[in-house]
Symmetry: D2
Amino acid sequence: MIKVGIVGASGYSGSELLRFLANHSGGLQVALCTSETYAGQCIDTVLPNLRGFLSSAFEPLDLDSLKERVDAVVLAVPHKVAMSFVPQILAQGLRIVDFSADYRLGDAETYEAWYHAEHTSAELMPQAIYGLPERYRAKIRDAQLVANPGCYPTSAILAAMPLVAQGVVELDSIIVDSKSGISGAGPKPRENTHYPNRESNVAAYNIGVHRHTPEIEQELSAVASETPVRVTFTPHLVPMTRGILSTVYMRLTEEMSTQETLDIYSGFYEHEPFVRVLPSNTYPETKAVLGSNYCDVGLEVDTRTRRVVAMAAIDNLGKGAAGAVVQNLNLMFGFNETDGLKVPGMMP
Amino acid sequence: MIKVGIVGASGYSGSELLRFLANHSGGLQVALCTSETYAGQCIDTVLPNLRGFLSSAFEPLDLDSLKERVDAVVLAVPHKVAMSFVPQILAQGLRIVDFSADYRLGDAETYEAWYHAEHTSAELMPQAIYGLPERYRAKIRDAQLVANPGCYPTSAILAAMPLVAQGVVELDSIIVDSKSGISGAGPKPRENTHYPNRESNVAAYNIGVHRHTPEIEQELSAVASETPVRVTFTPHLVPMTRGILSTVYMRLTEEMSTQETLDIYSGFYEHEPFVRVLPSNTYPETKAVLGSNYCDVGLEVDTRTRRVVAMAAIDNLGKGAAGAVVQNLNLMFGFNETDGLKVPGMMP
Amino acid sequence: MIKVGIVGASGYSGSELLRFLANHSGGLQVALCTSETYAGQCIDTVLPNLRGFLSSAFEPLDLDSLKERVDAVVLAVPHKVAMSFVPQILAQGLRIVDFSADYRLGDAETYEAWYHAEHTSAELMPQAIYGLPERYRAKIRDAQLVANPGCYPTSAILAAMPLVAQGVVELDSIIVDSKSGISGAGPKPRENTHYPNRESNVAAYNIGVHRHTPEIEQELSAVASETPVRVTFTPHLVPMTRGILSTVYMRLTEEMSTQETLDIYSGFYEHEPFVRVLPSNTYPETKAVLGSNYCDVGLEVDTRTRRVVAMAAIDNLGKGAAGAVVQNLNLMFGFNETDGLKVPGMMP
Amino acid sequence: MIKVGIVGASGYSGSELLRFLANHSGGLQVALCTSETYAGQCIDTVLPNLRGFLSSAFEPLDLDSLKERVDAVVLAVPHKVAMSFVPQILAQGLRIVDFSADYRLGDAETYEAWYHAEHTSAELMPQAIYGLPERYRAKIRDAQLVANPGCYPTSAILAAMPLVAQGVVELDSIIVDSKSGISGAGPKPRENTHYPNRESNVAAYNIGVHRHTPEIEQELSAVASETPVRVTFTPHLVPMTRGILSTVYMRLTEEMSTQETLDIYSGFYEHEPFVRVLPSNTYPETKAVLGSNYCDVGLEVDTRTRRVVAMAAIDNLGKGAAGAVVQNLNLMFGFNETDGLKVPGMMP
């Protein structure tokens, strides 16, 4: 049995992880939940859906004693905060899955350009493994530090990867138009998460400067054998709590039908337990993956313009966050990769 | 292992039952799914959240061969349809849980008065057990035919039962004001389930004539040792897919504080795995039980008017339908009562 | 032409007032908009729906110069703040409509009991007119200080008033169960207005202690010729931005049919331009009054329990706030009472 | 005074037109409302938001007597139905605004290719004027037959037109990614408008085959002096009733900053009463135009990829349908172009 400590467990990623782990067959046990805001309060008072599941209290973080309490640490704290903890935790020999962006990018320069912050442990960046099992499964098994992917990148990469890998799309003209639920902005009330501001409302934000852009480009460039991939990424908020639909536009370098293109996807994801390639004329919808670790992928070739319109739907808190962490922990500690995750989306 | 056949498995109650059973440890196996509308189509094409879970097809119903295929039958068909199947299924020695209202009431007369339809197997009504484990646990274990409670009655009865049992409220002035998500109306598109008609909209319906009224009155009267209980029941539709909050108004016959009243509830539900009594100053919210089999109960005593305002929140498709069926099946077949059901609500 | 100054114009009540006044035929002109938060910023930058309508800027409040700028002042500030401005504004001879609760109650004692704050100008309370034209039309015309009613009270009073006035309901057993959109909580982001906390969620709040309770009781008691009326009032938040549906339960002291009861309502509101009594079998829905100054009232008599279930639907920002202010200003300054207000609700 | 007859007035476009005309200063009078479904029923029973506004009844359509009743006809019927009425109405000398797609395209061949239906009055297509005042204002004034634009095309064309006109974008790589509210699908309940299917759900539909595609291409090609423009158009449904946000991706043929690009838009729309160009760093949001005839346009240049991300927000039933009809009627009959339309969007 592996004892897991969750640092920052009261946020949306952390609490969703607790929800997923309630379904785990038992090999992963929550041994510690820390929260700066709620230290001392009962977990199931703060998170009322977990009433009856976790009667212990949130604790303050004591970095020095982590090793006595847990075998693995999940960091569910913002970027910059994560890198202030990681070196010390690794030094204790503990394995880490980090929800934050601090170790997702391969070099400090890119990090600093997009995050406008100095990276204080750049020397650890090369050893961090990008936690996308569909690409790095083997490396994740042995990783000491796993950087859990961002929610938008997970959807964009899974939608684009098969064709980029196949080498049949123009690499400088990829467009990612994403529609996200509001929970991606976290539990802290802000003007742009205020109910009356988001209900009946759709708008884009952070065009050209969203920090998930370099993450998408890095991973797709790697898939393209380091031919640089440039994407135009436009995130939008739509009136729902959970879910991301990313619509990815790619121009084909050769003529292909929808079915031929789908076959490439089906082959590429043949053995993936959580990527479901939809048949032709069927498009992903976010509700089909609600609350789950699944990613539904579908596409249509617009033959008039030789463009593939590929779509991926995930739950931003599931496959886009906490589900992926469970999948990574399962790989790291030798559990069945799907343990705790074979839960269907909630429909209707 | 018990093989379960679900008749009418493509509706909301049936498909939610499939979702719950995906979490069951294995003792209950779905051996047959029938659907009049979708017979011949793959289950996971019709229900996209179940892709990868059930690759078999919906079948037409063949009443005669049920016994060869299954050990238990769940009827997820409308009232009147259910009673046209029940006698024949019972005659084969199969045990039944019936989602419909056909066997919930104790006598054909009341049924016919509220449902405006003749009851064609009134002789079976007395042997049917009302499937509310919080009241009939022992009888359910041995039942041949379990009438699964209605969603509104589940919430209303669980909110009112402790005080009615205690004999401290006026029995002729109980008011049940319920707020329900839209999924209670089923999967068939209708004018009052059309998205633009329900979004940003709240309205009452069926005041004074809703068919769940006699069900609530029957069960609360039984709790009151057959002193007749009369309720004013007003259901409302609110803009959400799942969830019911029932606000129940009861006048106390003696002065009691909120805490004293809560203590009665805590005692009453002390051993119930799925009823969670909330502490004072905390009121049930539907989202805390979303997708789960939990019922959260809370209350406040308005001392100025000597009224208890008791509230119960359930997911109408969970504790109000499919979750309750799993709980009943677990009881009937000797499984752990909570098997497949220890899943937290989905928050946020 | 009457020049109106709006103090606190950037909040929901103030900005909705600006939206309504854009429809006014011209007799009421917005001459001043103050905002503590946004002083110096263009109105139509802060309120993007008003782009092109108001190109001036919010100003800081200068109490001393109000008289030089305006003929009437609308106070759209919180309670306690309002009473710190009112005496000085009245002293300048300006007429006031006050959105806040500071002058709605008839005596300081009740105010202090429910608002837990000292009333600093109790001497002005008796002269303030409760701004419900359906009851105080004549007095409003001559009023110097109009206390605009609360949103919940408007709906509750309009739903109950005809029967209370008729003297045919028990006065100690009235229950008001209200369902409100989120905008009632104002524009400031808070935990209970955070989109993910309110979407798919229904819950009650402030049971027994909501400050609108004494306002409802005061006005219904006045209607009942000062026989004290006591109400149990339970407000709920439902997932929509605007709209209140109040379901009011009253026990009849004599037997009456639904149609007889409706006739009382139709007679009572016969000459009211903004109260629409719905025919039998038709219940109010909030969407039919969305964005408007209308109040739709309907009812059903539950003959089994001799209870009237009366319902009123308003837009909490329309008839429940800014629409009522326009109606009051029209009365105070001799304009057609419906000027700027004959706008249908927005459906679908 | 111009008497207007609305054929098909009970649908969403027709009823929204009635709502807009309630604000008109009086020159346009609704003299006839026909409805196949509701003939004989009171308008304000069918459309509860209009209670008290229109007490007359829907009538059956009598084509022959139109001339005796009205001066202008608005056709709010589906495509194919419209063209079965138009020749006969024109023959009576009546002027028409047609909500449908039947006369939007310039030639029968394109119509038949996309609509899979024969055009039965192709000879009238050349004389129909595409009712986009921002492009055809002068021609609309004199038109006998105005084809009111589709909702998606209105948003896409207004977002792209200034740069296409300026000749600074690649014409073969324009992508239109649209997010629409559900009311675009009309009032008839269907599976994809069923509340539980659309709440918490985002999905694309009709990729590559949506019938608004040739309309967008025709108009943008005309703007480009008949250089053929090809667009990839992907409509999505998002969980709201009204509103369209179209995100349009265009590659610049030369380097331009966001501000330089915005200046082109500001110049282009300088005299337009209903197109509001937003300042830099401000993006359109659908709620700011809710219920109005405004179109908010904003943009960002992604200099890394030399792409303009231009966005337009409209209410699909306002500027995308009924508002545009009023604007066109105003032009055709010599009223002030903005009469009945200077109504701000409803926020929050």
